[in-house]
């Protein structure tokens, strides 16, 4: 209950932000933190709670992004209606990967590799097919009205806040539900979980579908916010890394880990941009170093540091 209250307070504070701050830069930063949180929540659900480390979450992100962009551009579908379609397509991609890899018992590094390969297959397809605009990508037409889901910064902040809030509630439910307990049992030991009667394959399958659905909502948001998607953004490794970095920095398998991690990384990114200027690559060098440092010295993330002090 205290967790739900904390989520509520956070959501309220974030929702009121545009009333006090008019700076476009600050609002953009807040939007990016929430967006990064959503990606982290999706990855965290599968890896932090289920122990399945995906290195190709871009697959679901890109599928959600392309599903909505292609429908809007080619068929003129309304953006609001594209959201459920995008999520359904992302979830379907999750079902495909889950059905194949869990059915055949892929775990650990093998699972990480197969997700990476799937993302790569989709990147090549998106690069070669007319429907996705090939290597040029898809550009959403500008139609500035809330009915077409194109708003001011404040509007986008509320949209991503709603999506992130959904991520929070799903994660909270996972922590307190029977399904979450099954998933945690599978994470800790598949053999013991199976011995206790947990249907391991089905639990992992449900987890990847849920995770993919959240991730594709992130892809949907990306397209609406930036009006553009191409194969490298959609299915390239950068998004997969962003999704896993946040929870690892913030605290794997925790409710607030993805948010803590996303906030820390976005601020760090801004800082390096300010200090190093626009030298390409520097911010990612810092990200990589943070990843190594976190795994070496703080494997439980920032949240682990806090809870250790509390205990």
């Amino acid at each position: 209950m205290r967790e739900l209250a904390a989520i509520g307070v956070f959501a309220l504070a974030a929702a009121m932000l545009p009333a006090f701050v008019s700076s476009g830069f600050v609002l953009h930063l807040a939007i990016m933190v929430l967006y990064s949180t959503l990606l982290g929540q999706a990855w965290n659900l599968l890896a932090g709670f289920g122990g399945q480390y995906s290195f190709g979450h871009a697959l679901f992100f890109g599928t959600g992004a392309y599903a909505s962009a292609a429908l809007q551009v080619h068929l003129g579908l309304n953006a609001w209606l594209a959201l459920p379609v995008a999520i359904a397509c992302g979830a379907a991609a999750g079902a495909l990967v889950g059905a194949l890899s869990f059915r055949y018992g892929l775990r650990g590094s093998y699972f990480a590799l197969v997700t990476l390969a799937f993302a790569e297959v989709f990147r090549i397809l998106a690069n070669s097919v007319q429907f996705t605009g090939g290597g040029v990508g898809l550009l959403l037409p500008l139609k500035e009205s809330a009915a077409d889901l194109q708003f001011s910064k404040a509007g986008f902040l509320h949209l991503i806040l709603a999506l992130t809030l959904a991520g929070f509630l799903v994660t909270w439910w996972l922590k307190h539900s029977r399904f979450g307990a099954w998933l945690a049992a599978v994470r800790d030991s598949e053999e013991s979980a199976a011995a206790l009667g947990v249907d391991v394959v089905r639990v992992k399958f449900a987890a990847i579908v849920l995770s993919a659905a959240l991730m594709s909502a992130g892809g949907f948001f990306y397209v609406q916010y930036f009006h553009y998607i191409d194969p490298h953004i959609a299915y390239g490794p950068a998004v997969s890394v962003e999704a896993l970095l946040g929870p690892i920095v913030g605290g794997l398998g925790t409710l607030f880990g993805p948010l803590l991690g996303a906030a820390a990384l976005q601020l760090l990114g801004e800082l390096t941009r300010n200090l190093a200027g626009d030298v390409p690559g520097v911010s990612l060098v810092v990200y990589g170093a943070v990843l190594i440092g976190m795994v070496m010295f703080l494997p439980r993330g920032v949240a682990g540091l806090v809870s250790r002090r509390g205990a």
Binding site: G108, L291, I292
Partner: protein, 296 residues
Amino acid sequence: MLDLQIVLASLLNGLTQGAVYALVALGLTLIYGVLHIINFAHGALLMVALYGVFFLNARLGVDPYAALPVMVPAMFALGYGLQRFVVGRAGHGRDENILLVTLGLALVLENAALAAFKSDTRAIETAYTFSTVNLAGAMIAVPKVVAFFGALVVAGLLLALISRTDLGRAIRAVAKERQGARLVGIDVEHVFAMSFGIGLACLGAAACFLLPAYYVNPQVGNGFVLIAFTVVVLGGMGSFAGALAGGFIVGVIESLGGLWLGESLGQIGIFLVFIAILLFRPQGLFGASVEKSGHA
């Protein structure tokens, strides 16, 4: 139907390209076979080696093949140090952690190169870069033929090292049974670092054979990393002969795929084979039937 001559040429091209993939994959398979970790930084480390060869040539005028005695020990030392002081320390006994550390390493190396050298693509020109030999009517670039034999030699040396020397015996012992090896007095951490070092030394050799007919830019490793994994998985994790055969198979698949599906879509064949092998035969074509899920 395509002309038989073109198919033959494409086949030979695929075989020579496959030799390079095999060279890259040999190091990866050794590291996996011994440490049971998947080194995601393998492509980025190949990129480092390629820059090494490039600058030796551009600044000091060293021929890429003459750079072998410099690059191989240098990459070995880098690998030994990395395993000893970074990768090995971050494990905390969990394979996922090692996976993440090598991913972080790849990010750091790739983007440090981007910051230092910009995204420019650089190539070197040697007297033999554009010379070709005529093999059964197909024109094959000389550097690719050299790489083909280079891959065979490196694989042979690795096999001899593993099967004939004391170090090889220790490596095999550690690969099979860590605790047992420790109990009979083998310095396991040293063997880990040696294996990582030898794995990267293979990359040093690969870079020397690769650069005369190739190029280097900060992202060059990306193209190789998934292909090298495919080769290793195809051949069976930890098997040298498998890596060699897997390299040739992947090279041919890519070459023929490019012929029939075009440049951009042709690459897809490799990844589809990769996924199929992972799903249906994760021990690989030549690998011993290890436990299905592997060690990670």
